[in-house]
Amino acid sequence: MTEFLLGAAGFVLLTVAIGLIRVLGGPGNVDRTMAVQLLGTGGIAALLLVAAATGVRGAEDVALGLALLAAFASVAFVNSAAPEDDREAGRANE
Amino acid sequence: MNFLLVLSLVVPIAGALLAFGVGGRWVSRIALATMPLGLAIAVAIAAGLRPAGGSLVYLLGGWSPPLGVALRADWLSALMMVTTAVVISAIGLFARADFPAGMTETRRSFAFWILLLAVWGALNTVFLSGDLFTFYVSLELLVFVAVPLVALDGRAETLQAALRYLLFALLGSVLYLAGTGLLYGAYGTLDIGVLSGRIRGEPVTAVAVTLMTVGLMAKTALFPLYLWLPAAHAGAPAAASAVLSALVVKGSFFIIVRLWFFVMPGLAGVAAPQLLGALGAGAIVFGSLLALRQERLKLLVAYSTVAQLGYLFLAFPLALDAEAGRLIDGSALIAGLVQAASHATAKAAMFMAAGMIYVALGHDRIAALGGVVRTAPLAALVFLLAGVALIGPPTSGVYFAKTLFLRAADSTHQWWWSLVLDVGGVLTSAYLVMLVARALAPADQAAPSMAGIVSGQQPVAALALVLCSLLLGLLPWHAWLPLPLAVTTPDPLSLDALWSLVWPLLVGMALAALMGRRQNQRPLRMALWLEQADHALRQWPAAGFSLLGLTIMLGVALLLTP
């Protein structure tokens, strides 16, 4: 069972790695931000599998934290990448 | 009695938190009210250490090391704590005019007073901590105080200076932290006392101590790792420059002392202390000569700090007992720390004087200092006295330290360090003579337009500090220090004493004439080389190479130690 869990974790990690190569290269910043999402989901899966296999306690909370913060990173990206003219409009409105 | 150790760091930190919570006009009042309290605590701790060579220990939370953290006070802590308390109180007095408490809270004064209290708490933690990781946290506290102080004026150049300082200081902290971790991994403790009993001359010790020492040297701005110092110390407001130059750089120096003299005194070998001394000598010569080449007074003072920091590192080779093969915490170390205390008081006063001169003249260009004796006589006097204190007349702390250094050089047969000390005295005289010559020149025709008025308290605070430095040699040191010391003050009117004061001045005059900046005259080629070297060393790539090269040299020196 342990071997199976670890094998599964390895597989997830491999897909994440392949995805990373594609995604980090861009071309656009949106593509790159997807890398974070990809790792957010893939990383959580690998983390839970490894924790279950090696008997680490408390890993579920790390997974919870990771899930929340990966979403948070995307929000920050969307927020800061908002087009400039939108901001200017905001400035004029207030 | 021992609870005073806790109070000495808790009181300033609590003051900072309170000032932040209350805000407004109360910020400076709380800070100023904390000062007599902190001063009293420092003096009380020093008094408690009076049977010479004693120490006070406080186990935090009642947990004893290695699991817990202990605070320890000994003569080094007491000396540095009292110095810090005096300097901070004087700076507080000085800064009242520059950072007034108005009806509405202002950015500069809010940040300054809280940071002043925080730097005090951080330094007391450094002086009292008996734990390598607590050192790390207090080093970081110092960074987070010092960087905003540098950036306080908000001009682009000070922001850049602050950022360079921050990045370099962070690098230093991380290297220090790496070494701390390795030592813990090897010996299972971070407590200085426990560690000194367990530490052995192994490769892991060499690697750890190298990383820690280089990290701390970067924070102390020891030559050649001073890329951040001149711009940072010269760009800050005068009161902040005084804090930075007098106190903050001494914190990381103090940790080097703790590490070498109290954790691994028997493992230093011969080569590594010589290397530290050589860097100190380099700082003295290079920093002083560059001070001569500066166009602005505050930059001159900053380069003078680079030079003066070099003296502190002479303590390492001179404290080495070659026969026993260990560093002795005896007269050379005492000399180093008294030098640190003398420099702290004199340099703080010097930066204050430079600040007052800036206010009085509306600029601090050295070439246009003429007439300052009439415009700002007190400030000019303080500056002169501070410079004299750095050269070291017979009653001063610098003289006391120099005598001990020379004696140690004599008894350990290392004549070259005496030479360095003499050269240092001459060079310090040189830039002072040059400034005096400029100041006595007739005033510029163009009337100063931007000139302001120096508040009345400011010269008093600066003068008090300068007197501390000038009279430090007269203190009854034997009551505190671990070994009997007799440095007799020579009759100041005796021929010997006069000659020892006059000859460096004469040689200094010649040097000032040769190397100083003068209009309508091509500088010596050597002066140009110096400036180019300085410019290169203040760039990141060169600083990086110096840092990595030093790491490897020090590492090899320590690895080869039997």
Binding site: - | V137, F144, P148, Q160, L167, V174, L177, G185, Q532, L547
Partner: protein, 108 residues
Amino acid sequence: MSAPTLAGLTGAALVGLGLYGLLVHPHPLRKLLGFNLLGSGVFLLFGIIARKGAAAGFAADPVPQAMVITGIVVAFCATALSVALLLRLFEAGGAATLRPDVGRDDSD
């Protein structure tokens, strides 16, 4: 090779990488990334020390773990202050360079 040793070696490599980035890369933001890599490499060294200190029923020595947690917090504060300074420098001077102003004291 055991997991802790591997992590330790990764840490050692990260220290070198971070050091290179911090010292050589001219852009302050990239220096900051180098600093963070360097710090994280040092933390991994603490990690191997903690893991090799497993005893008394603990899977890892808690003392180095606590130090790493403190270290991560401090590193974050440092990053935040650097970023704030850098952005302010950029606004004030329009550039994000760390090169000291050439020619101010070398003009003649």
